[in-house]
């Protein structure tokens, strides 16, 4: 397990370090903003993550060893980082462009609130965001998004 995560771990560490040392001009001691994200895994478990503003969901998921692949390396050329966004948050994310929609067309279990993880960038409006990794065996239900 460990041997495959070293790189993504290093990637995430560097982005955390950047978040910590780049202080925002408006606050003397406030450092990079943290965004709370909840991932609902394919098994239905909820994983709460404190991520850095500006990170995308694919990087965050991989940094925390969640079962999300990015076959094309996050370049919007496959659909392996498909996530289902809690409808409550969906409209807060800028709309998908044509390229993303073309890939979503090929995603398994596409829903009205599906997105590609690599294209969802965390902003402060998205604090508290809940996203689910699509199930291969059953459709997601509203209660999967319920806070636990």
């Amino acid at each position: 397990m460990v041997m495959f995560t070293t790189r993504s771990l290093a990637k995430s560490m560097s982005s955390h370090i950047v978040a910590l040392i780049v202080c925002r001009p408006e606050g003397l001691l406030t450092c990079g903003l943290r965004i709370h994200v909840t991932f609902i895994t394919r098994e239905g478990d909820q994983v709460h993550i404190d991520a850095a503003e500006g990170d995308n969901l694919l990087d965050v998921a991989q940094a925390h060893d969640l079962d999300m692949e990015g076959a094309c390396g996050g370049s919007c050329a496959c659909s392996t980082c498909h996530v289902i966004v809690d409808p409550e948050f969906y409209d807060l994310i800028p709309e998908p462009d044509d390229d993303e929609n073309d890939m979503l067309d090929l995603a398994f279990g596409l829903t009205e609130t599906s997105r590609l993880g690599c294209q969802v960038k965390l902003t402060k409006e998205l604090d508290g965001l809940r996203v689910a990794l699509p199930q291969m065996t059953r459709n997601l239900q509203a209660k999967d998004f319920e806070k636990r």
């Binding site: 041997m3 495959f4 094309c72 659909s79």
Partner: protein
Amino acid sequence: MSNQRAKLRVAIVGSGPAGFYTAYRILEKTPSGIVTVDMFEKLPVPYGLARFGVAPDHPEVKNCEEKFEEVAQSPYFTFIGNTMVGAQPLAVPSRTASFQPNHIPLSLLQQHYDAIVLSYGADSDKDLSSSVKGLELAGVYSARAFVGWYNGHPEFQDLDPDVMAGEQAVVVGHGNVALDVARILLTDVDALRKTDITEAAIAKLSENKVKRVRIVGRRGPAQASFTNKEVRELMTLTGVGFIPPEAEFMSPFLQNSPKLGRPTKRLFQLLQRGSTTSVADATKHFSFDFLLSPTSFEASEGSSHVARAKFDVMQLQGDILSKDTRVKLTGELKELPCNVGFMSVGYKTHPLAGLEDIYNDGANHLNNEGGKVCTGINAKGLYVAGWIKRGPAGVIAETMYDSFETASVILSDFEDGEIGGKSCDGWEGVKADLGDKIDWKVVSWSDWQKIDKAEKERGSKIGKEREKFTNQSDMLAVLE
């Protein structure tokens, strides 16, 4: 794990995405050292269709190779390149000037491994020679061979496609391979120069005379298999105009639009919007031509080069909006001008020798349950992944999911004690048995890294990512 002390030796046949994603999942889900994976590849170079199928202007799709490289770094992974498992199926030409396979028998692998994953894909074209005449004419090619040729596959370097005979091209088939062929024919060759397309292909394509490409399918727009990304790419090619389908093909979809699935709905929006370059301003054009089933390619009198393509005009039988609707003959015929023609009607898989009894010819794959071969005299410990498992269709994402499924079936069989723990030596055992019979260079992962480096160096001299070696002996010469 009930099988705690046992080890599992896995052989994987074929190093394309299916083989690598299976290896990845197996190694990722097991503690270090419990499982070893040996991957066999008939060519000296890995990655299968990621290297030889994915279009050169889609470099981002090849990013999956980064993950494969990571997998290959595992101390429990061994690459055995330039070594083909099983004999070449009779239906497939066995050798070309650029490639001569080195064989080892599948039965030997079965002695020396606990589990064998067949992920060798589809090795030929669906054969339409009994229903389409003139496929042997000069200027008529298999799209698969053309793609292999421009991507530098050693088996297709003799193709020498003639794209200089005239302006009119016909591509038969409505899948993404057909669109790749159309796009390569229509793209300004200068835009391809910086990709990893071969220099031989660049030289040939710079003499390309094609100005009009008809992409012809037997069924209607709702039944086409190509995806919206590839259609959009054609629509946005510089200087290329889209000649829209006749209104009869479009109107039903506008009226019934709520009924359509999302991808089809978006496809119609694309077809309706048309190309970025207007038909009037464009210097090259393409169209989608529907409900035409090919009957023959014909040459002009006294020539052996194709000049026209003939088709039966078809009609849809049933719901025109449904994906599965079939077609029937109308009795009407249609002729199109054709200076160069490509057949892109799908791939054909084959069973390895000894596995004929588990091959399903109609379904175009080996019989399996979730990736496990359950019937057949040689079935024990056999698994499948990728196109040989589910038939030759689908993008890398689908292959990834189905390879993960195969990996989890293997691991659960291991856990149940159904496989594993055999006293066998894997590749060491195979080598000991064959001895002097291995009279070829077996390419290791570090050998491949040398070839890879040499290709990148060749590329950087001419301003591209990589210049591939296109024949086996040049690949091996790097290692001398």
